[in-house]
């Protein structure tokens, strides 16, 4: 039996760098100068006082925690030892970038949690060691690279309150995501003209517009597709709530109206600030998922005029099958473009193989849905949403290792379901659906919902995309399926093609998932969603659903803070639902600067 080739191709990491050391030294001196200036301007007395305050606060916290534990009954103590702490608000402190400590999850789960913590470190270090110098050097060029140093903290944040199987499954999915991110970060560093400047690698790199899935790259096994803005903007904005603020400010100073969606705005802002690596053989822009995103590609073309661009512009009314022929032609032209730019040839066998994997992954996704639709949902929380977005869709079956993780998660899932485990221990009060575009700067909001109010998000809109198995034998039908998939990709599936896809669809999903609460994101700059808010409100009320509207500005926490978002829910839960919180410590805490 033929051995499956390693993924990603190790040759990509071995590609020769052409680092301009003179330029690196110059940059290093500049960065060192900045740090030197910062150190000089630092008020060391104040710095010392702050540390003393921090230590005092730690001491106070520890003694409070000790007193609280000591005041517990023996049963409560045993419960805390076995299943962990219950007051998660304690983990936050005003002015801190990260939680004050890791969570106590009970003996067994804490040990497991530390094992996964170490495993993630292992994956990151192994991956970065594939070409360490350019990877670390990125930190001297790009502020977003620094934010990736905090991925463990991000992991902790998304797993807060999780125990048992849900914790284990979430860890596995988190690992997949960070492996995908780390491998791409190394490649970005190697290919960047400022940094690794590897011409050998760049010949093999096809850049994709953020949110455009990579399935088409299945037919080019010798190349690698990288979602261009995903790492410098999109993904990191979920890890660090403040990372996009400079991008947004820069592009608004440039002249872009402040009412545009922060996703394309941040992407354009990152170009204004020169925060995107200059690399790759070509760029595939796309018409996804909204008017603003369509427009951002002209900024890429302006910044990098030497980067050939193909505009993949699928029809908007995608349910009208009359438009499909043109979409298929567009896919064919795109394939031809990649062939011309890279010299690679489209390989049907490789494509079908990766699509078969993707179909299998889709089946695993559907299995999660089936379980979550029952009275015993198992895999819920931020990790499942993030995995679906960053790994299942973006990787799209290209990485054979993902299947292993899928199998592992599925096994845990089915076992937990059979044992009727509680996905959030003692916190299963309400079932909710999340609708519309979520705030990147509050990626773990569903986690807070469950921990504070027992509102369990069983599914979110962005997951509910195209799930039909893609054709793996007939070539013409395969291209049609590929076009259908892209047309129905994340967000686009709902925001394009008519209001039924986002309004009527919601009512259908509420019924299927047996949810009567809708966490309705009100992304203030999303025109596609803002233009149906009245209908959603009217029809939702007629159906007797609880629509909790939560305003946010996607990547700009200055417009609506996390605290305001929480307060909106708390107010609804108290006044309309007459509910009391599960964890009062989570009602009010400061995380304005917490990553």
């Amino acid at each position: 039996m033929e051995k499956t080739p390693k993924y990603p191709n190790p040759a990509l990491y071995r590609a020769k760098n052409n680092i301009d050391w003179k330029a690196q030294w110059k940059n290093f001196k500049e960065v060192a100068g900045i740090f030197g200036g910062m150190l000089k301007e630092t008020d060391w007395k104040k710095f010392g006082q702050d540390w003393v305050e921090t230590l005092k606060a730690d001491g106070k916290r520890i003694s409070e925690e000790y007193r609280a534990f000591a005041a517990c009954t023996p049963e409560e103590k045993l419960e805390a030892i076995r299943y962990g702490e219950k007051h998660l608000g304690r983990l936050y402190r005003e002015g801190c970038f990260a939680p004050v400590r890791r969570e106590w999850r009970g003996v067994k789960d804490t040990i497991y949690d530390f094992y996964e913590w170490a495993r993630l470190w292992g994956v990151l270090l192994t991956t970065f060691s594939k070409d360490l110098v350019p990877a670390l050097n990125s930190a001297l060029y790009y502020r977003w690279m620094i934010s990736y140093f905090c991925c463990h903290s991000f992991m902790d944040k998304n797993l807060m309150g999780l125990r048992g199987s849900n914790l284990r499954m979430s860890h596995e999915l988190t690992l997949c995501m960070f492996r995908y991110a780390a491998e791409n970060l190394v490649l970005l560093a190697k290919g960047d003209a400022k940094n690794g400047n590897s011409a050998e690698l760049n010949k093999k790199v096809v850049l994709f517009d953020e949110m455009t899935m990579s399935q088409i790259m299945g037919g080019f096994p010798d190349l690698i597709g990288i979602p261009y803005q995903l790492f410098p903007v999109f993904m990191v904005s979920e890890m660090d709530q403040l990372i996009c603020v400079p991008y947004i400010d820069a592009v608004e100073s440039f002249g872009l109206p402040a009412d545009t969606c922060p996703v394309p705005s941040s992407e354009c802002g990152s170009l204004v600030l020169d925060a995107l690596p200059h690399m790759g053989s070509c760029f595939i822009s796309s018409s996804m998922p909204c008017d603003g995103s369509v427009m951002a590609s002209s900024y890429v073309a302006r910044r990098f005029p030497d980067l050939p661009v193909y505009h993949l512009c699928f029809p908007v009314r995608y349910e009208d099958e009359k438009t499909l022929d043109a979409a298929v032609q567009d896919v064919k032209d795109c394939i031809r473009f990649v062939e011309e730019q890279t010299g690679a040839k489209w390989n049907w066998d490789a494509y079908f193989e990766s699509i078969r994997r993707f179909n299998t992954e889709t089946q695993y996704e559907l299995q999660k849905w089936e379980v979550n639709k029952t009275n015993y949902p198992q895999l819920i929380g931020p990790s499942v949403e993030l995995y679906r977005k960053w790994n299942y869709e973006m990787d799209g079956g290209l990485d054979p290792r993902t299947i292993k993780s899928c199998k592992k998660v599925d096994k845990l899932l089915m076992k937990a379901y059979e044992q009727k485990e509680e996905a959030w221990r003692n916190k299963m009060r309400y079932r909710a659906i999340v609708w519309s575009c979520p705030p990147h700067y509050y990626a773990n909001f569903s986690n807070w919902l469950a921990n504070c109010w027992g509102v369990n998000v069983v599914v979110e809109m962005e997951s509910l995309n195209f799930t039909k198995p893609l054709e793996t034998e007939d070539k013409d039908e395969a291209l049609r399926d590929l076009a259908r998939l892209y047309e129905r990709m994340v967000m686009r599936r709902h925001t394009n093609g008519g209001y039924h896809n986002v309004v009527t669809e919601l009512w259908k999903q509420c019924e299927e998932w047996n949810a009567n609460i809708v966490i309705m994101w009100q992304h203030v700059a999303c025109k596609n969603m803002a233009t149906v808010q009245g209908i959603l409100d009217e029809q939702g009320r007629e159906l007797g659903l609880h629509l909790i509207w939560i305003p946010h500005d996607l990547m700009d926490p200055r417009t609506v803070s996390r605290r305001t978002m929480r307060d909106t829910v708390s107010s609804y839960m108290r006044t309309v639902m007459n509910a009391e919180p599960i964890d009062e410590s989570l009602l009010d805490f400061a995380d304005d600067v917490t990553m």
């Binding site: 545009t260 369509v294 073309a301 512009c313 029809p315 209001y499």
Partner: protein, 405 residues
């Protein structure tokens, strides 16, 4: 013969034209309807106007004159969305578009698409046969996307008209519609060319009014007035001394509010070119048809090729838009360009921000970059900004005259 005067002599039909713009269901629209015409509303350039003037149909490009509060539309569509789209929904809810027999919508931008959907969902028109179309509009111009566009227009527009109203949409009928359309376009274009003169015999405001009535009234009924106005203009004498201090070209998104042009001209800038949605470029080019190819395909190709909407994102279209802005400004002897955008329009928001830099840096044009609401006549802020721009253009001219590089 009129002598070169102190001020331009009033045009005979200008006040009548202005009155036609006071109401979407104006006198000529009512007349055409009473004569058995089928009234088809549309908003977007991407619906070829000429297709809606086939057989006994006639097109009305929808406006919402005298727009006041947008409260109800804001409830449905939020206050962060295009004013034009909301103004249409508000007017529709008020019952202002009951006169329409059908609404020919296109899914070209999200706000307009949703506005058209609200027409349906909220049942704003009580006519039993009233329908709204939602056609797909490609984002780039290739042979296969032109074919797709043609099919959309055939199936979703023309076939629906035949099916519901028994309209003849044959090739011959389309060619007849193109002939009438071309006559109107030729007149508007000839009038528009008059703005190139050093001392123009028409103001930007007057042209704006004439161009708007050509969009909002039945072609057959407005043509006689336009013909007569063209003759009148040919003998009109320019001002002995131009009251304007500068000449500007406007580029950008939808403007159906002539008071914006008036505001700009009131502060001293003659509007010589109108490269915006509802303007004459594109929109008033003659459609050249050959006898060999299907008329519908030629019409659709024409609209896609001359289209200047910012939603066309392919490189050649982006370049076309910048070149067109530069060409028009040069041909009409503008001193500067005003890039404008309807507030909350994503397409033009991104386009304006970038193009206003490019056109300044690469083409050397002084640029004023503004965003604006649907009704602008009384905007003090806008007036101040245009005033400042006019002054900067004047200073540049004085410096040029003094030999500055």
């Amino acid at each position: 013969m009129q002598k070169e005067g102190v001020t331009l002599k009033d045009l005979k039909h200008l006040i009548y034209f202005e009155s036609l713009l006071e109401d979407a269901n104006n006198e000529l629209v009512r007349q055409a309807h009473e004569e058995g015409g089928v009234t088809l509303g549309y908003t977007c350039f991407h619906i070829p106007e000429v297709l809606l003037n086939v057989d006994r149909c006639f097109s009305v490009r929808l406006r919402a004159p005298k727009t006041g509060s947008l409260d109800i539309a804001t409830y449905y569509m939020s206050n962060y969305t295009c004013d034009y789209a909301r103004a249409l929904v508000e007017r529709a809810i008020e019952g202002g578009y009951q006169f329409l027999d059908a609404m020919i919508g296109v899914d070209a931008c999200s706000a307009m698409n949703r506005a058209m959907e609200h027409f349906e969902i909220l049942n704003v028109n009580e006519k039993p046969d009233f329908f709204v179309t939602h056609t797909d509009m490609p984002l780039k111009v290739t042979d296969y996307y032109i074919d797709s566009y043609v099919e959309q227009m055939r199936v979703n527009v023309l076939d629906r008209l035949t099916e519901v109203f028994g309209v003849d949409t044959s090739d011959a009928a389309l060619r007849a519609a193109v002939r009438e359309h071309n006559e109107m376009c030729a007149i508007i274009s000839e009038i528009g060319e008059m703005r190139k003169a050093e001392k123009p015999i028409i103001t930007g405001y007057e042209f704006h009014i004439m161009n708007l009535v050509s969009y909002t009234c039945p072609t057959r009924l407005i043509l006689p007035y336009l013909r007569e106005t063209l003759v009148e203009l040919k003998t009109r004498k320019p001002d002995s001394k131009s009251p304007f201090r500068a000449r500007v070209a406007i580029v950008g998104s939808e403007i159906d509010d002539p008071s914006l042009t008036k505001l700009i001209e009131d502060v001293g800038a003659l509007v010589v070119s109108d490269r915006y949605c509802f303007g004459s470029t594109p929109g008033r080019e003659v459609i050249e048809l050959n006898d060999e190819e299907d008329a519908l395909k030629q019409i659709c190709r024409h609209y896609m090729e001359v289209g200047e909407c910012a939603r066309y994102i392919s490189d050649e279209k982006v370049q076309q838009r910048r070149d067109t802005a530069d060409r028009l400004a040069r041909e009409f002897h503008a001193d500067g360009i005003i890039y404008e955008q309807m507030k909350y329009c994503d397409y033009w928001g991104f386009e304006r921000a970038l193009a206003s830099h490019v056109v300044h840096e690469e083409y050397g044009w002084p640029v004023l970059s503004i965003d604006r609401v649907y009704s602008n006549g009384s905007s003090g802020q806008l007036r101040t900004r245009v005033q400042a721009f006019v002054e900067s253009l004047e200073i540049k001219r004085i410096q040029r005259e003094r030999g500055a590089v």
